[in-house]
C-alpha cells in the first residue's frame, strides 16, 4: 500500500500530516458556507427575482370508518400554511396534524370526517393560504387495511397463491430440463434469460410509473431508479464474483480429486441459480408492494381471475431457477436446494404485500423494484457469461439460433401471460 501511494505522488510533493490533510480538504467547504451565509443575510436582495410558488403533494389517501385521511407533504420551495381541505372539490371541515404550518419537506396528516362509500372514486384537495389548490384522486374507495391478524393472513394467502405456489410449480420442470439435449438446454437457458429481461424491464417501467405519479419532483424519483438499478447490478456482480471466487479458491487449494473437480463445476450453476432466486425474490417483493398498495389505493379488486393471471405469470420464474441446475449430476441434494431457492424467490411477495398494504410508501416501492431490476439484469449477464464458458453449453451465444429463439420465446411467454394481469 505504501508503495502504491508513493508511486502516485509527484517527486516534489511533500507529505502532509493527517490534520493538515483534513484542513486542506475543508477549505472549500468553509468558503461555501460563508457564501451561503452571505446570501441568506445581506446578499439576499441581489438574487431574489420571481415569485416562488407553493407546492403540496398528497402522498397517500386512506379511507377509515367515517373519515378520509390524506398524508400531505410540502414539496415546494417555500413554507406553506394549509387553509382548507375538500372532498370532490367541495369544502369540508377537517383537522390537520401536527399543524397547518408546513415548513419545507414537512408532512402532515389531514383528517376529514366524511361518510364515504366503498367503490366510489374520490378526489381530495388541499388549499393553501394563497388560494392554490392541490388534489389527488382515488379510483375507488376501499377501507384501509388495518394491520390485523386477519388482514395479514389474507395477504399471506394471496402471496402464497401468486408467489410461492407458482414458483414451486415451475420448479417441477427440473426433471424435464435435466433430460433435454444440449441444443434444447441452451434454448431453455436463453428462455430463462428472456423471462428475466422482461421482468427487469417490467420493474423499471412500473417504478417509473410510481415515480411519475406518486413522488414529488423534489425527490428525483426517476434518477433514483437509474442510480439504484446500476448500483444493485454492480453490487450483486461484485458479491457473486467474490462468492464463487472464494469457493473455488478453497477447493483448488486441496488436491484435485474427482469429487472436488465435480464440485468446482457445480459452484457456478448453483451460484447462478441462487442469484436468480434472490433477483426474482426482490422482484416479487416489489410485486407484493404493488399488490398490497393497489388493494389499499382501491385500484385492484383481487379476484380469482387476477390470481390465476399472476400464477401463470410467475410459474415461469420457477423454470428460471431450475434451468441452470439441470445439468448437474447430483440429483438428491438438488431437491432441497431447489425448495430453498423456490422459497427465496417466492416468499418475499408475502412480506411485500404486508409492507405495501400496511405502510405503503412510493419511495420504498421504487427502491425495491429498482434493486430487483438491477439484480435481474445481473443474473441475465451471469447466465450468458456462464453459458459461453461452461462445458455443456459452450457456444457463441449471439450466433446460436437456439439461444436466440429461447430468448424470444421467454419474452413472448411473459408478454402473453402479462395480458392476464392488469398493470
Amino acid at each position: 500500500m505504501e508503495k502504491e501511494n508513493d508511486q502516485l505522488k509527484g517527486p516534489n510533493e511533500k507529505r502532509l500530516s493527517a490534520v493538515r490533510m483534513v484542513a486542506v480538504a475543508l477549505i472549500p467547504i468553509v468558503v461555501l458556507a460563508a457564501m451561503i451565509a452571505y446570501l441568506l443575510g445581506p446578499g439576499q436582495s441581489l438574487l431574489n427575482t420571481g415569485t416562488p410558488l407553493p407546492e403540496v403533494s398528497i402522498e397517500r389517501i386512506e379511507f377509515h370508518e367515517g373519515q378520509i385521511v390524506a398524508l400531505v407533504r410540502n414539496t415546494g420551495p417555500i413554507d406553506v400554511t394549509v387553509a382548507q381541505a375538500d372532498v370532490n372539490d367541495r369544502i369540508h371541515p377537517a383537522a390537520i396534524e401536527p399543524s397547518k404550518e408546513l415548513p419545507r419537506l414537512a408532512e402532515a396528516k389531514v383528517i376529514i370526517p366524511f361518510p364515504w362509500s366503498a367503490g366510489e372514486p374520490y378526489e381530495i384537495g388541499i388549499t393553501t393560504s394563497d388560494g392554490t389548490r392541490f388534489s389527488k384522486g382515488v379510483t375507488a374507495a376501499a377501507p384501509a387495511p388495518a394491520p390485523s391478524i386477519e388482514q395479514a393472513s389474507f395477504f399471506a394467502l394471496v402471496g402464497t397463491y401468486v408467489g410461492i405456489i407458482p414458483v414451486l410449480i415451475g420448479l417441477m420442470w427440473f426433471p424435464f430440463i435435466r433430460r433435454v439435449g444440449s441444443n434444447a438446454y441452451r434454448f431453455f437457458l436463453s428462455l430463462t434469460a428472456g423471462l428475466l429481461v422482461f421482468l427487469g424491464i417490467d420493474a423499471l417501467v412500473e417504478s417509473n410509473g410510481i415515480a411519475a405519479e406518486n413522488i414529488a419532483g423534489v425527490f428525483n424519483g426517476q434518477i433514483l431508479i437509474v442510480m439504484i438499478t446500476i448500483f444493485s447490478f454492480l453490487t450483486l456482480q461484485y458479491i457473486s464474483e467474490k462468492l464463487v471466487g472464494r469457493a473455488q479458491m478453497k477447493l483448488a487449494s486441496g488436491s484435485t480429486t474427482r469429487v472436488q473437480t465435480e464440485r468446482q463445476e457445480l459452484i457456478r450453476p448453483v451460484a447462478i441459480a441462487l442469484m436468480i432466486s434472490i433477483g426474482i425474490g426482490l422482484h416479487n417483493f416489489g410485486e407484493g408492494l404493488a399488490i398490497g398498495a393497489a388493494v389499499v389505493l382501491g385500484q385492484v379488486a383481487l379476484g380469482t381471475f387476477l390470481i390465476i393471471g399472476f400464477t401463470l405469470h410467475n410459474t415461469t420464474e420457477g423454470l428460471a431457477i431450475a434451468a441452470p441446475l439441470a445439468k448437474i449430476d447430483r440429483r438428491r441434494a438438488m431437491i432441497r436446494k431447489l425448495l430453498v431457492m423456490g422459497m427465496i424467490a417466492g416468499a418475499p411477495i408475502i412480506v411485500g404485500t404486508w409492507i405495501g398494504g400496511f405502510l405503503y410508501s412510493p419511495i420504498a416501492a421504487i427502491i425495491f423494484l429498482s434493486i430487483g431490476a438491477g439484480a435481474i439484469f445481473q443474473v441475465v449477464f451471469a447466465i450468458y457469461s456462464w453459458m459461453s464458458r461452461a462445458d455443456i453449453t459452450r457456444t457463441r451465444i449471439l450466433s446460436d439460433a437456439y439461444a436466440l429463439s429461447g430468448f424470444a420465446v421467454g419474452m413472448g411467454i411473459m408478454y402473453a401471460t402479462g395480458l392476464l394481469v392488469p398493470s
Partner: protein, 365 residues
C-alpha cells in the same frame, strides 16, 4: 480485508442507510404515530356538525371555514355583518333648480392582498377597500355624482348599469393610475343595478372584486322593511378560470356561523345582485318560505312568488318575504356545488318579543 474491499463495504453500508432513511422519511405513518402521542395541548373537535358525519378530536389544527373555527383575521376584505344592512346615500346637496344631488367618492385599488376566506388571502381589487364596494342608494330623479379616484397600478373605470349619457358609461374614458373622473347622471329608472369596472380584460377586473350594488328607490317609497343587500360572488384563487370560493357578500359560509337575525312576521327585503364570474348561472333558494320576486326591481308588481330565482352574471332583483314561524332557515345557491363551496347562509327568525336590537332601517332613510 484489502482497502478496496473496505471502501466498497463502507459505501454499501452508507447507501443502505440512506435508502433506509428515504423509506422512513416517506413512510408517513411513523411520524404520524409519533405525533399522536406527544401532544399535550388541548384537543379540538372537528366535524359532527352535519348529519352522518362523525366528530373527530384533534390535537392539531382545525380547518373549518364552514363553522369558522378558523376565524377571519384582521385583514379580512370585508365585514359581511356590517355590509349587509349598510346603504350609502351620499353627501346630499340641492341644485339651483331644487333637485337633490348625491355625491359619492369611490377609490379603486388593486394592490392589496386580503383574507377572503378563513386563512386564504388573495389579491383583491377594491372600491373603497372592500369587495363588494359600497352600496350606493338614491331616489329616482336625484342627481348622482360619483367622484372616482384610481389609486391602483392599472387603468380602471366605473360602469353603472341604468340610463345615462355615453360619456358617463365608464367604458371609453379609461382612467389611468392616479387619475380622476366625475360621473354624473340622473338616477333613473327605479330598480337595483350593479356597478363595476369596465376595463379589459373585463373578466380579470370583475373576478378580482371591482363591483358593487346601486339602488334607485321609487319616488313613492316601497313599504318599510328590514332591508339588506346581498351580492352573489366568488373567487378564482388559483387562476384556472373556475371559482374556488362562492358566497353572498364575499366571505364563504359567513352567514352560516353568523346567522342573519330577522323578526317573525316582519317584511324582509333583499336587494340581490349576481356578480359571479366564470359560471354561467347562480341562484338563490330560500328555505321554509316563498318570496315575491321583482326582477331588476323596476316594477312595483312582483313577477313571481317563488323560493328559487336563477340569474346570469349582472342579473338582479328584489326579494320580499316574511317568516310565519321562528327558527333557523337556510338560504343558498341551488347549484349545490356553489352551496358546498361557501354560498350558504342562515336566517335566524326570532319572535319580536325576543328581538329588540335589530336595526330597523326603513324603505326611505
Amino acid at each position: 480485508m484489502s482497502r478496496s474491499q473496505t471502501i466498497i463495504l463502507v459505501s454499501l453500508v452508507a447507501s443502505i442507510l440512506s435508502s433506509a432513511f428515504a423509506v422512513l422519511a416517506s413512510a408517513n405513518q411513523f411520524s404520524a404515530i409519533a405525533q399522536d402521542n406527544n401532544s399535550n395541548s388541548e384537543k379540538k373537535l372537528v366535524g359532527g356538525h352535519a348529519m352522518g358525519y362523525s366528530a373527530y378530536e384533534t390535537s392539531g389544527d382545525v380547518l373549518d371555514p364552514v363553522n369558522n373555527d378558523g376565524k377571519m383575521g384582521k385583514d379580512a376584505v370585508m365585514n359581511p355583518e356590517k355590509y349587509l344592512r349598510s346603504f350609502n346615500y351620499g353627501r346630499i346637496s340641492t341644485s339651483p333648480n331644487g333637485t337633490t344631488v348625491r355625491e359619492f367618492t369611490l377609490v379603486a385599488d388593486d394592490r392589496q392582498t386580503m383574507e377572503i376566506s378563513p386563512g386564504v388571502s388573495y389579491n383583491v381589487w377594491t372600491f373603497n377597500g372592500t369587495v363588494p364596494g359600497p352600496t350606493l342608494r338614491a331616489t329616482e330623479g336625484d342627481i348622482i355624482r360619483i367622484k372616482f379616484i384610481n389609486n391602483g397600478t392599472m387603468p380602471h373605470t366605473i360602469h353603472t348599469h341604468g340610463i345615462h349619457k355615453a360619456e358617463m358609461d365608464g367604458v371609453f374614458e379609461i382612467i389611468n393610475p392616479g387619475g380622476q373622473y366625475i360621473y354624473e347622471f340622473p338616477a333613473e329608472h327605479f330598480g337595483v343595478y350593479p356597478y363595476h369596472c369596465h376595463v379589459q380584460p373585463l373578466e380579470q377586473h370583475i373576478s378580482h372584486g371591482l363591483y358593487g350594488a346601486y339602488i334607485v328607490d321609487p319616488k313613492t317609497p316601497r313599504p318599510p322593511a328590514d332591508e339588506m343587500v346581498m351580492i352573489m360572488n366568488g373567487f378564482d384563487t388559483d387562476f384556472d378560470t373556475e371559482n374556488n370560493f362562492y358566497g353572498v357578500n364575499t366571505i364563504p359560509y359567513y352567514y352560516m356561523h353568523h346567522p342573519i337575525e330577522i323578526e317573525k312576521d316582519r317584511l324582509v327585503r333583499v336587494y340581490l345582485v349576481n356578480m359571479l364570474e366564470f359560471d354561467q348561472i347562480n341562484n338563490f333558494h330560500l328555505h321554509g318560505n316563498l318570496y315575491n320576486l321583482y326582477r331588476s326591481g323596476t316594477s312595483l308588481q312582483p313577477d313571481e312568488l317563488t323560493d328559487m330565482v336563477t340569474m346570469s352574471q349582472g342579473e338582479r332583483g328584489i326579494l320580499e318575504f316574511s317568516y310565519k314561524y321562528p327558527g333557523q332557515y337556510m338560504f343558498h345557491a341551488h347549484k349545490t356545488e356553489f352551496a358546498e363551496k361557501g354560498w350558504t347562509g342562515l336566517f335566524m327568525v326570532k319572535d319580536s318579543s325576543e328581538t329588540q336590537h335589530i336595526a330597523s332601517s326603513g324603505g326611505g332613510r
